[in-house]
Amino acid sequence: MRFTFAIIGTVALAGVTTAASARDYLSIAGSSTVLPFATIVAEQLGNNPSFKTPVVESGGSSVGKKGVCEGIGTEFIDIGNASSRMKTGELEYCNGNGVDLTEIKVGYDGIVVANSKEGVPLVISKADLGMALTAEVPACADGSTNADCDSWIPNPFTKWSEINAAYPDIEIRVYGPPTTSGTRASYAEMVNQKGYCGKEAMAKKASAARGDKKGKKCRAMRTDGAYVEAGEQDNLIVQKLQQDPSAYGIFGFSYLDQNSDTLQGAVIDGTNPTFDEIAEGSYSVSRALYFYVKHAHIGVVPGMDEYMAEWVKHWGEDGVLSDAGMIPMPTEERAKYLAAMKDLPKLTADMLK
């Protein structure tokens, strides 16, 4: 009998709470690259006694973009974070659910290739970096002349020096994020696809020959042990590099920034992965960070405007976000997105082209 009462009690409790589901805190989800910065802003907003601290969920850019588009109502998230821009297909899903969004860019994040300070510094071109780690290269990439240059072979390079004698004479071993990571996707697109197959003449020609003009097939990373998937945790890669000076690693700039006393970033196309060079845009392996605001929740869930205003307080060169490793936008861009926070222009497919 006692059990029956307990069961009825808990079911009743569940029923009561379902009725009272109005939310008085912001619910945010998305990219794990944006998360460290979004949480700083959320915490700052929470310091204000008038607002509860927003809840920031992780999950990846796709979770942020899809989650914010799922519908209108407090059971859905208010803001989606993303480290890659919304695609027109994703926006269609939004429109299908009747969700209007405004896109706010908050800053940039650099992707660095780094190794221990005890190791050999890498000074490399983006095309060569792509060639070292992409899964397949054209058959004559290694200098052979008797092969069909438009056919593709598994990446034959085992040492950096085989690509160019100027590079270190050590085995190619690079730790990096797995396929689920946005950092990996951006890196593969910027370095393998655009830097190598989009630039280097032989790879460009061979790509066109296999009906892949955009070079999308080059995004695949090597699976023969030269590229080692080290899990989503960038800290793990950092620890591996500190133990093994002959290895290199791919991760976000903030981790290099935090460990600048033990790690050095590779110089890519003559530019250093430093705060200033990423901010100027001369260091090219970087991507923009966004969040998407749901119009229908502004004024319904308390703190939406204030959360956006909090970003503005901290996104400058001297702000806490740059201390944490986020690269600020130039002044004009900041002004543009500050205006967007006020006017809330509806995101349309044309804006994404």
Binding site: T18, S27, I40, E43, E57, E75, Q258, S260, D261
Partner: protein, 444 residues
């Protein structure tokens, strides 16, 4: 070889007849050395297996404890702060909002500039970086707790920034070129000045225990996650224990033995092997999708974990009921008790230790679980400490997972410290299970 030797004993293979006892003894004697060696080898394999397992355990513990124990401590700086009421409480009503609007930051900075002798814009900026961003909140709380300290000068202790802490621990080295370290020479000068005056201390970290999630590594603590874990487990226990025990009693004592109960039993056993993330998807679809409940709340977390714990409780409860000797039931029925009375007055009390053990083990499993919570939004950065099961909250393993991914170095130490706290809870729960079993169990 040994086996054939064994089979041959007593039987002459060639002749098929009996052999003499002397010959049998000789044959056994010949095989004896090999059999003993085999036994020895087998024992050695066992010892090697245990040795490997122990080596892994020791490696794990050494790596966690070596980082975790320092994680329980951090550096603090003591300052003489002049608590000017006009600056701290501009409205004068001592409300939370008024203190927030006041200039706590400026008051602390002024004390810091005095102590370090910092002057000039860049000097003050460098000195300001020494102290934690959480100092303001600590000052406000002190004033709220005891408004009498306003307009006096108080000796107050604040945490230092996590980079300064790393420097004081020796992780950031003085020899490293200035541009490569996160602490510049000017800051090192000020830190040295503070150390000479004996104002910097290395103490037990109150933030770790009483602080909630924070992106400032020096302020981050497990309190919010701990409360979240307790709330989630409470919901889980309230749901899974009665339902699990009732199911076990019905299936064991009352259910007719037919095809339907058989299918139910098989499904319960299968449920125990379902990956926990599946329960999270179920929770997402039903509670958030259909009932429209908010994400990230311990109530849903508890329900999802209860689904996961139920099979464990049902299976162990049934085993406990089965272990009660039939004579107890027969005796109760014999003196005229009804079946329900027999159950509730005699069998269940005797089976309770076994049921509780199963429940505690199930709860310990639930405490360490993160996968099902991912789906329902509890893998999140949540600063506010949940006050009820419907406030957003997270749990200890999630907190550990989040900290492990942050770039700031001090989080490595705090992660290990949090793992130690989680381990302590798990050991405590398992010890409780053993205690309950030893104390209450009856043998027949």
């Amino acid at each position: 070889m040994t086996e054939t030797g064994m089979n041959n004993i007593g039987v002459d293979k060639a002749g098929g007849g009996m052999i003499s006892p002397q010959e049998a003894a000789a044959r056994v004697g010949a095989g004896l050395a090999a059999r003993r060696a085999c036994e020895k080898r087998f024992r050695a394999y066992g010892r090697i297996a245990i040795g490997i397992a122990l080596a892994f355990l020791v490696t794990l513990f050494v790596s966690i404890f070596s980082k975790g124990i320092p994680g329980f401590f951090q550096h603090y700086v003591t300052l003489d702060v002049t608590l000017d009421s006009a600056r701290l409480d501009p409205t004068g009503d001592l409300s939370v909002q008024s203190l927030y609007d006041g200039d706590a930051r400026g008051v602390i900075r002024a004390a810091l500039y005095d102590a370090t002798g910092a002057s000039g814009r860049s000097g003050r900026k460098a000195a300001g970086k020494i102290i934690s961003a959480g100092a303001e909140q600590r000052l406000r709380n002190a004033v709220l707790d005891n408004p009498a300290i306003l307009d006096t000068t108080q000796r107050m202790t604040f945490a230092v920034d996590d980079d300064v802490d790393s420097f004081l621990r020796g992780f950031i080295k003085r020899e490293t070129p200035e541009k490569d370290r996160r602490i510049n020479d000017r800051m090192i000068g000020y830190i040295d000045a503070l150390q000479e005056q004996g104002l910097i201390s290395f103490e037990f970290s109150d933030y770790l225990i009483f602080g909630s999630a924070s992106r400032n590594a020096e302020m981050a603590g497990i309190y919010g996650a701990l409360i979240g874990s307790l709330l989630t487990l409470a919901v889980c226990l309230v749901l899974s224990f009665p339902i699990g025990v009732a199911t076990a009693i019905y299936l064991e004592e009352f259910a007719p033995k037919n095809r339907i109960t058989e299918i139910i039993e098989i499904n319960i056993n299968n449920l125990a092997a379902v990956p926990s993330v599946v329960f999270g998807i179920l929770g997402l679809a039903i509670f958030i999708g259909i009932f429209g409940m908010p994400r990230s709340i311990p109530l849903i977390g508890g329900v999802v974990l209860a689904l996961m714990t139920l099979p464990t409780i049902i299976i162990s409860s049934r085993a406990a009921i089965r272990a009660v000797p039939p004579s107890i039931r027969d005796a109760a029925l014999g003196v005229g008790a009804s079946r329900v009375q027999t159950m509730l007055h005699h069998v269940v009390p005797l089976a309770m230790p076994g049921m509780l053990t199963g429940t505690i083990i199930g709860m310990a499993q639930a405490l360490g679980e993160t996968a099902p919570l991912l789906m329902i939004g509890m893998v999140a950065f949540i600063v506010d400490v949940p006050g009820s099961v419907t406030d957003p909250g997270t749990v200890l393993p999630v907190q550990i997972f989040m900290w492990a991914d942050f770039a700031e170095r001090m989080f490595v130490l705090k992660t290990s410290a949090a793992i130690m706290v989680l381990l302590a809870f798990l050991i405590l729960m398992n010890a409780a299970a053993i205690f309950v079993r030893k104390k209450l169990e009856r043998r027949w």
